[in-house]
């Protein structure tokens, strides 16, 4: 298995995705959720790379090989959040129970002439953020999203709510256009959301300590707050199973230095603060971790569960030594 995760195709294909969403929107979320059990088994057996990633992830953070049940639960949670994205985008919010944490801290930082940069991650469901804006049509929201990574899913979800498609800043465009679009939106008081835990192409990276081992994060999300002089707030929508979500807002930085000279230190500090808080939330509920690749070694061949721990240079091997 030398296939790089970036080249991994979307699982299931367009037909399967549209089928499950159609079932969900017609027959209700409960019926569609019954389909998640066979989907989970299908994913477990047909996606060996992601399966190994899941085993390795739990082994790393919990120090022992997870049970089969745990890995199945991980996949089931992921499938559940994908299904829920359809309901959230179709604005069928009533069925969800979303507990807000730190919303006041976000509201305090919003101004009509200056938005807030919300940094998310590939955990839980970022889409529950839309629930927070119910009853507040004046709140403008734009999401930086790579529409090319999961084209079938993105197209289907956006067909449910074309307005939301307009709010997307397409991360598959050149980097300079993405940052300019973010800058324009922030200048109009928009909340701009960005998933800050994934490095694109050959962009600059910053090393952080994450679950006791070094990991690389992209520099740009942590530099933008200073350059554009906007507050940076962590935003994580953690899925708790059933119809329950916890939406966390945590201020990460206000008044970041504008000058280039001071920026490197500020970027490192902010990236580490982000990583530490992300680790905190993931540790409390690891089944929310939806980076289906070897996060600590993204350029690697993936995770091989047959590889003896002694030959691995990761945290699990070091802790065991």
């Amino acid at each position: 298995m030398s296939e790089h995760w970036r080249e991994r195709k979307e699982g299931g294909g367009r037909f399967a995705i549209s089928l499950i969403l159609a079932i969900g929107l017609r027959c209700g979320r409960g019926v569609a959720r019954l389909c998640l059990y066979p989907i989970t088994l299908y994913f477990y057996f047909r996606r060996p790379y992601e399966r190994r990633v899941s085993y390795a992830f739990f082994a790393r953070i919990e120090g022992r090989r997870p049970s089969l049940w745990r890995v199945l639960q991980h996949i089931h949670r992921f499938a559940g959040t994908l299904l829920d994205r359809a309901f959230l985008l179709a604005e069928r919010y009533a069925r969800f129970e979303v507990q807000m944490h730190g919303l006041d801290a976000l509201i305090e930082r919003m101004r009509p002439d200056r938005g807030v940069l919300l940094l998310g991650a590939h955990v839980g469901s970022f889409e529950v953020l839309r629930v927070a804006t119910i009853g507040h049509p004046e709140v403008k929201l734009r999401v930086v999203l790579d529409t090319q990574k999961t084209p079938a899913l993105t197209e289907l979800l956006h067909s449910l709510n074309p307005q939301i498609g307009l709010g997307v800043i397409d991360a598959s465009r050149p980097g300079s256009e993405i940052v300019l679009a973010m800058s324009e939106a922030l200048a109009e008081g928009t909340l701009v959301t960005l998933l800050a835990d994934r490095v694109r192409g050959d962009e600059q990276t910053v090393a952080v300590e994450f679950f006791g081992a070094p990991a690389l994060l992209p520099v740009a999300p942590f530099a933008l707050g200073g350059i554009l002089d906007v507050p940076v707030v962590l935003c994580l929508g953690m899925y708790r199973g059933g119809n329950r979500y916890d939406l966390h807002f945590e201020p990460l930085a206000d008044g970041l230095p504008r000058a280039r000279k001071e920026r490197d230190g500020a970027v490192r500090a902010l990236a580490q603060a982000y990583a530490s808080r992300l680790e905190h939330h993931v540790r409390l509920d690891p089944c929310n971790w939806f980076n289906w690749h070897d996060f600590w070694n993204p350029q690697g061949r993936g995770v091989d569960r047959h590889q003896p721990a002694a030959e691995r240079s990761d945290a699990v091997a070091r802790d065991a030594a």
Binding site: P174, S176, V179, V219, K261
Partner: protein
């Protein structure tokens, strides 16, 4: 995509050298002198300058401050405009609000 212009390929026009100085100053570039930036060379990615997206944003802010107009994210010609010093300088000359 650059068509030949009246200036020679290696030399900067006055507008180009002014922009080159702005790039070097606003991005704290110390590995290349403003007058050494090739007018037709790439600004971003591989090349002598090797600017990235963050540099693009800072450059756009510096341009808006100096020349009084915004480089927009939705301009269909962005690839060409950000392609070289010559193209960016030409775009600025056409759109600048301040002289």
């Amino acid at each position: 995509m650059q068509t030949a212009t009246s200036s020679s390929p290696g030399a900067q026009s006055p507008a180009e050298s002014e922009l080159a100085q702005l790039i070097v100053d606003s991005l704290n570039i110390d590995w290349i002198k403003a007058e050494a930036i090739a007018p037709d060379g790439p600004l971003f990615g591989a090349g002598d300058l090797g600017l990235d997206s963050i540099d693009a944003l800072e450059l756009a802010l510096a341009v808006s401050k100096r020349y009084g107009f915004q480089l927009r994210s939705d301009n269909p010609d962005n690839k060409q405009i950000f392609g070289s010093l010559r193209a960016l300088a030409a775009h600025i000359e056409t759109h600048r609000a301040t002289r």
